[in-house]
Symmetry: C2
Subunit: 204 residues, 2 copies
């Protein structure tokens, strides 16, 4: 590696299946191009619903049917089996997102491992992470104590960190999950991973 | 070719830049897989705005910036230069769409050629096709008389054909441009052309 390259910024919402799918592939993709990945938890409820004024995908006529079909196809293609169904009621993602920022602040460098564990628990295992205690139960994965993490998730610092992170993501134009920015170039959607791959390979 | 294969249904709105981009590649892609293409003009104003209740892309905060960027990147990658800018006021696409259905009824088999000419005129040459006379001026491309086509575009038959076609597209779950259906499988977006390609290559 001659020169240090900018990392890939990877934005996701824990309740986004497409975000989960991307989380499974982004590290390998980045490694192929000598890049690191900086993970960022964001909230579709703020970007899509409040800022853009749109409805959730599954509440949007026509698109909901398509998304269910597209997701099933993606899972077949990548050999994924999930306990959670897209049509299951979805959790409030804020506890998981605050947990992510608590890890970033208190176990820096472990936030991606935490995010992978949370995604895995929610999507593959079908567990609910809507309550802070559910999220804190993942603490051992990153070598933390559940009690300390539970307190952290409910702290003002974690709330402020999440609020700041969401504001920063909006300021960078991030609205969907997954969303990637590398060398200032934005890529939206799990189906843009191939484009991102080509783009990095071709040098932009 | 052992058995006759189903054609690829290709749905587009003339005012959609992504639909235009797809129109430039779909025939070659289909030919690689021994498929024909059935072209269908649809109206985003009916699917996206009326049925789904969403805003036009460029009126949607955050997404508008992304779309401009993504389009510029796509054009660089594919070596496209267009006189029309995405931010130019867009035409009422109904005259072009009625022209398309008039061609399908009166010059069957020529509707794809007409659609390519209309896309080219609107996007690459930057001409306006909002008025029936502008559309009818393309008639020679498919061996028709402009006067006959003009009358056709304004006929009740063309209006009914467009209305029926849009209703049929909605009934099949089509909402975006471009949108493809092959062997019952839907694909949305110009960036899904690669996926469609792989899907056809792998046999679904």
């Amino acid at each position: 590696m001659a020169t240090a390259r900018e990392p890939i910024d990877f934005y996701f919402d824990f309740l986004s299946s497409y975000g989960y799918f991307a989380s499974l592939r982004i590290e390998a993709l980045a490694a192929r191009h000598g890049r690191e990945v900086r993970w960022h938890s964001m909230l579709l409820g703020v970007s899509v619903m409040k800022t853009m004024g749109l409805k959730p995908l599954l509440d949007t006529p026509l698109k909901s049917d398509y998304v269910l079909r597209d997701t099933a196809r993606y899972m077949r293609r990548h050999g994924l089996q999930l306990k959670r169904k897209l049509t299951d009621p979805f959790m409030d993602p804020r506890a998981a997102a605050r947990g992510f920022y608590w890890v970033r602040r208190n176990k820096p460098g472990q936030e991606a491992a935490f995010a992978r564990a949370a995604f895995d628990s929610y999507w593959r295992e079908g567990r609910d992470l809507g309550a802070a205690a559910d999220v804190a139960a993942l603490a051992p994965v990153i070598g933390a104590q559940p009690a300390a993490m539970l307190e952290g998730i409910e702290s003002d610092a974690a709330r402020a960190d999440l609020r700041d992170a969401v504001a920063a993501s909006l300021a960078r134009g991030v609205f969907g999950s997954p969303f990637f920015i590398v060398d200032g170039e934005p890529f939206w959607g799990s189906d843009r991973l191939e484009l991102l791959d080509q783009w990095l390979g071709a040098g932009g």
